[in-house]
Each structure stands twice: as C-alpha cells, then as structure tokens.
C-alpha cells in the first residue's frame, strides 16, 4: 500500500452545528450513514452465520453415527440446502459488503457512499429476502431440499411448493447485491479524496472494485436462471424440461456460468483483507502491490471461462473436458501466486501476532490447502473419482471457512477498535482463534479421507467404513460451532467496554482510516483530507 502521510484533521474544524445520529429505531431504519449501514450488514451477517451454523450442527449431529438418529432424510436435505444458501448469500457476502460499507469511504477519504439512500435500501431488503427464504421451512412440503446449487429437474418439476418463495428470495438478494456493487463502484471511481489516485488505493478497495464488477456481471445471470425456473414451474415453459425441448444440462451451464465467478466474489475481498493485515503486523509494505492488483483484475476476466469444471461427469464431449481442464489449470496460476506475495511480505519483516494476524496466517495456510485440493479437482480424470464426494465438500469448506470466514473475523478484530474506540481483549481473541482453528481442522480435514474413500455428498446416512472420520468431523463441528459464541462475546464486550483505543490502534497500520480518531466519528472526511 503506498505510504500515505497526511496532516491529521483535528476534530474541532468539523462544522460545529453537525448533528450526531438520530435517536431510537428511526436511526437504523432511515440511516444513510455508511457506518450504520455497515454495522447493520455485519450484525445481519453474524445472525445469519449463527442460523446457518445451527443447521450445520443439525447436519453433523445426524452424521455423527451411521443410522438415522435425529432427522428424516427429506428434512436433512432441507438443512443442507438452507445451510448452503444462508452461509453463501446470508453470512459471507453481506459480511464483505458490511466491511466495504464501513471501510471503503474511510480508506479513500470520502465522506460517505456515492448513493446513500440506495445503500440503505440495498441493506433493508436483505432481512426480508431471508425472511421469505426461512419462512419456507414452515410451509407444507418443507423448505427447498434440492441443494444450494438447485439443479433442475429436482428444483423445478420435483420441488416442494416453497420453491417459489426460494426464487423470490434469490431475486431480492440479487437485487441487493447489484445495488451494493453499483454503489461501491460509483464511490471508488468518483469520490476518492484528491491525491488518493487509483495507484495509492489500499488493496481491500481494489479487490472490492473488481468484486463489484464481477457482481454486476453475474448476479443478473443468477436472477435469469431463477426466472427461467419460475417460468418452468408456473408458466408452462420448458427451459430445463426435456419433454418440451429443454435440457437439464442447460441449467447446470447457466448456473455455473454464474457459480464460478461467485466463488471468486466470495474470496477476492478476503484477499484484500489479508493484504491489509499482514503488512500491518509484519511492519513491512505488501510485496508486489502491482502484481496483486493486476492478478486480481485478471481473475475478474478469466473466471468466466472455466465454469464447466463443476460438470466433468455430466457427459461432456472429450473436447469440452480437455478445454476446461486446461483453462482451469492455467487460471490457477494468477490466483495461487498471491500466496507467495503474502509470504514474501512476511519475509524479513518484524512481526507481532495479535489476533487479526493469527487469523490472517491461518487464512494463508488453510486457504492454500483448499487451493491445493482445488488444483487436484482440476485434473479431469481424477475428478471422476472426486466429483460430488466429501473430498469436494472438504475443498470448498477449506476455501470458505478458514478462507472467507477467517478473513471476515480477522477484519473484524482488525477494525473493531476503530469502530468502537475500545482496545481488543487479546487473550479472549486468542482463545477464540485457537478454538476455531482446532475446530475447523478437526471438522473438515477428515472429510478429505471419507471423500477419497468413496462417501458421496448430501447423504443423511452412510456405510460403516466412513463412520470413524464422520464422528470426528461432527465433534470438530460442535467445537467450531460453540467457539463462535466466544466471538460474539468478544464483539459485544469490545462494543461495551475496554481501554481507549488510539487513532493509530496498530503499530504498523498505514492508511487514511488510521488518521481519524477511534471511535470513528459519525461523519468522517466531510472535508476531503489532503493526500500527497
């Protein structure tokens, strides 16, 4: 991140008659303040993370032992589907949008987001989207039970009636993401403080700019595919119904055309966060800032040409298999290489290991393990043995839980003193880290083994040879699950009390957000800072 030396705007010269936040519920309902909306996104994401987590614990409790103990198979499928949907669209994406809302204006010296009212609206439709989705749990026929990838015809002709609620839920989530993305692009491109050129922007802002373009390109395609589903179910078309000339494989192509860029949408902001945290605690500038920016930009384009590596066993002609294998292996290069940049940043640095740094290092190690299993999955012939087994479940949980979730936790611990003005309780933070670290590995590493041994995905019960590793995974899941209560305690504790945090907060921190006092005043950078 380019070094930024800027004169500290002292609080006094804020315009004196400016008013603090409104009082009561109205503050949150009508707020157009990027900090309030950021907090609401993060609180919403944390609650969704808990709900999704409870569903994960139900799944793991059932899979603790062979035999059906707790739930009957149809409800189990509902749990896996809702767990996937809520974690992807409810926990990870809103958390990143919340962090973007909080930090981007402060990092580029802007007073607020470019379109504050749209910002409010794109948050407030989210709780209703998930209310619609979650209410389908109580409808006759139950919630969606066709997996978060909702392949046709299971999700069209053979779906429970609540599928229509699922479709409208996804429509609204998509609208919220698109509006959020438009808002972020407009803010980054038009509202940077003078002197804050694109070259000097922190990497978190860069990765979010690229993610926003990805969102605008693919969320409409997701809206398109669920609209096609709606027409198939209710208006008698046959996009995906072979009887009327449609094709279920068409669904998979259009879904994964959205799906693969979506997984990059869920990891690029994490790259940005880690690229902010490691330089701070290594007290050394990020190694190869330009390479990171260019590599992230190339991912935005290359992620559109590899979607069919999710479909190697669907019966593609040989030309298709070989093409998507080559393309997937080639685009792994700009993605994987970033890890070397982080390690090079640490090399010859001067490191301290507070909680954010612990999470960041765990991210680099465990995300790379997920990246390696991803590389193994790219080998098409081997994928015939891996596809739709627990090996794939282990892969994407390694890139999502120690990947996206750990980076969100790292960001929260990193910027919380700036938001609340209180220093972090390091011991509690470390307790949460080590519990999560152990829980995540005990949960997901055994899944590699049962997956290779032949256990398919999304099954409520399994053969005896998979029993031992599954019970271990379930124990790990409960450890990881309950250690998130420590996280909630840490956050609430930090909001309520703690030593006064300085503006700088972290010794090695660079960037505009550290030039304003902690807690960050309600309105910051009303007058743009001088950045040279």
């Amino acid at each position: 991140m380019a070094t930024v030396d800027v004169d500290l705007p002292h609080v006094k010269d804020e315009d004196p008659h400016h008013h603090g936040p409104a009082k009561g519920l109205g503050r949150w309902l009508y707020t157009t303040n990027h900090k309030d909306i950021g907090s609401m996104y993060l609180i919403f994401s944390l609650s969704m993370f808990m709900i999704g987590g409870i569903m994960a614990l139900i799944i793991r409790a059932e899979l603790f032992q062979p035999g059906l103990q707790l739930v009957e198979p149809n409800f189990f499928n509902q749990m896996t589907t809702m767990h996937g949907l809520i974690m992807v669209f409810g926990a990870v994406m809103p958390a990143f949008v919340g962090l973007a809302n909080w930090m981007i204006p402060m990092q580029i010296g802007a007073p607020d987001m470019a379109l504050p009212r749209m910002n409010n609206w794109s948050f407030w439709i989210l709780p209703f989207a998930f209310l619609i989705l979650l209410s389908s749990l109580f409808m006759p026929g139950g919630a969606p039970n066709f997996g978060w990838t909702f392949y046709a015809p299971l999700s069209t002709t053979y779906a429970p009636e609540s599928v229509t609620f699922f479709i409208f839920g996804v429509h609204i989530m998509g609208a919220s993401s698109i509006m959020g993305a438009i808002n972020i692009i407009a803010t980054i491109l038009n509202m940077r403080a003078p002197g804050m050129t694109l070259m000097k922007m922190p990497l978190f802002v860069w990765t979010w700019l690229i993610t926003a373009f990805l969102l605008i390109a693919v969320m409409p395609v997701l809206a398109g595919v669920v609209t096609m589903m709606l027409m198939d179910i209710h208006f008698g078309t046959s996009f995906f119904n072979a009887a009327g000339g449609g094709d279920p494989v068409l669904f998979q192509h259009v879904f994964w055309f959205f799906g693969h860029p979506e997984v990059y949408i869920m990891i690029l902001p994490a790259f940005g966060i880690i690229s902010e945290i490691i330089p701070t605690f290594a007290r050394k500038r990020l190694f190869g800032y330009s390479s990171m920016v260019y590599a992230v930009a190339s991912i935005a384009l290359l992620s559109f040409v590899v979607w069919a590596h999710h479909m190697f066993t669907v019966g593609m002609p040989l030309v298709g298999e070989v093409f998507f294998m080559f393309a997937t292996m080639l685009i792994a290069v700009p993605t994987g290489v970033k890890v070397f940049n982080w390690v090079a940043t640490m090399f010859r640095g001067s490191m301290t290991f507070e909680t954010p740094m612990l999470f960041a290092i765990a991210f680099v190690v465990l995300f790379t393990i997920g990246g390696f299993s991803g590389l193994m999955l790219a080998i098409a012939p081997a994928d015939f043995q891996y596809h739709d087994t627990y090996f794939v479940v282990a892969h994407f949980h390694y890139v999502l839980v120690p990947g996206a979730i750990f980076s969100i936790m790292a960001a929260t611990y990193y910027w919380l003193p700036k938001w609340t003005g209180h220093q972090l309780n390091e011991t509690m933070g470390k307790l949460h880290f080590w519990l999560s670290f152990v829980g995540v590995n005990v949960t997901f590493f055994p899944m590699h083994f049962v997956g290779l041994a032949g256990m398919p995905r999304r099954i409520p019960d399994y053969a005896l040879q998979f029993a031992d590793f599954n019970s271990m995974a379930s124990v790990g899941a409960f450890i990881f699950g309950f250690s998130q209560l420590v996280f909630i305690y840490n956050v609430i504790q930090n909001v309520r009390a703690g030593e006064k945090a300085t503006a700088q907060v972290w010794d090695g921190a660079q960037g505009l957000e550290w030039t304003i006092p902690s807690p960050a005043p309600y309105h910051t950078f009303s007058k743009p800072p001088k950045v040279d």
Partner: protein, 193 residues
C-alpha cells in the same frame, strides 16, 4: 458531493445499471446460444437436423453398429420399445426401423419422443431423415402402433466411432395438448361468431 461529481456519478450509475440489465438478457441469450453450440458439437447427444441429408456416397468399406434404446420417463404408462435392438449399417445408406408403442390405459393420450445420441461426438453425423420424434404421437385408449424412423449415418463419421446409440425418452404431453387444444377451440369459437 460537488455538482460536477454528481452528474459523473449519475452517468456511471446509469451505465452500470444498463450493464446489469444487459447481463440479465445475456442469461436468457445463453439458451439459444446453448442450442447452437449443441448443434455444432453434438453436446449432450443432441442434434436438430430434420429432413433429407445431402450425403455424398455410400461407404461400403466399414459398417457402424446403431443401437436403439427407449426410456419411459416419470409416469409414462405406454409400453414403448424398439422393434429392432440394433442394426449394422453402411455409412451413407438410408435405413428405416420402427418403434412399438402401446397405450394400455383407458383414455386417449398424446406423447412426444425426445432423441439423444451417444457418443455425443457422433451426434452431428446421425441424420434423422424422417422421425416420429418430429411431432407428437397420439394414441387412443388400448391401441398400439409402430412408429417409423428413417435415418442415415454420415460417411464423414470419424473412424474411431464404431457404435452409435440412439435413445428415445417418451414424454406424456396429454395435459399440455389438452390445454393447447382448448385455446385453439376458443380461438375457433371466437372467430366463428
């Protein structure tokens, strides 16, 4: 937000919004794009060639085994099977075969056969000159029929392909037909007034 910044933002937002709507359209454009792509590569064993194929000459140097397979999806009660399990054909030579269908239920029904070819690489080379799958096949209660298929294997079929399997999934479209029939009658009724 200075004045000039505001207009710049508005123009940017309009451009981004149109991009989002364009991508929504692109999502739907993927459907015809997919069919064109399938027709060229035979992806998923589909080919939409209908009618006589301009085939060079009969290639008597090799024979290709063409197998016939039938599937009754969902709750299709008809009995449906090929009269001939497989044939050895010369590429370029017109061939005919029939498929037996019996409607053993107590009501009039109409069905639509959906073809699929494997290996998908061979799909563009199997030309269906005339096939019962081109249109819907009605059957009265308790009656049966033999439905014709005229096809020719294109001599340009790659050498390494020696067996082509053509499968038909027979779908029950009785309800769909009744709905379309209803609308047709209404139109006729309305026009005749």
């Amino acid at each position: 937000m200075t004045e000039q910044n505001q207009t710049k933002t508005n123009r940017l937002v309009v451009r981004l919004a149109t991009a989002a709507i364009a991508m929504f359209g692109f999502g739907f454009a993927l459907v015809p794009l997919y069919d064109v792509f399938c027709d060229i590569t035979g992806l998923n064993g589909k080919n939409f060639s209908q009618g006589p194929a301009d085939v060079a000459s009969v290639d008597r140097s090799r024979t290709v085994k063409v197998q016939f397979v039938t599937v009754n999806p969902a709750d299709m009660p008809w009995e449906f099977k090929p009269t001939l399990r497989s044939m050895r054909v010369y590429p370029g030579e017109d061939q005919t075969t029939t498929f037996y269908a019996k409607n053993s239920t107590a009501e009039w029904m109409v069905a639509q056969a959906v073809p699929s070819v494997t290996p998908s690489e061979a799909a563009p080379y199997l030309h269906k000159v005339n096939c019962f799958c081109f249109d819907r096949q009605p059957l009265d209660a308790g009656t049966d029929t033999e439905m014709p298929l005229l096809f020719v294997v294109d001599p340009e079929l790659p050498e390494h392909i020696s067996t082509i399997t053509l499968s038909y999934a027979l779908y029950d479209l009785t309800d769909d037909q009744k709905v379309t029939q209803l609308t047709l009658d209404n139109d006729k009724g309305r026009t005749s007034l």
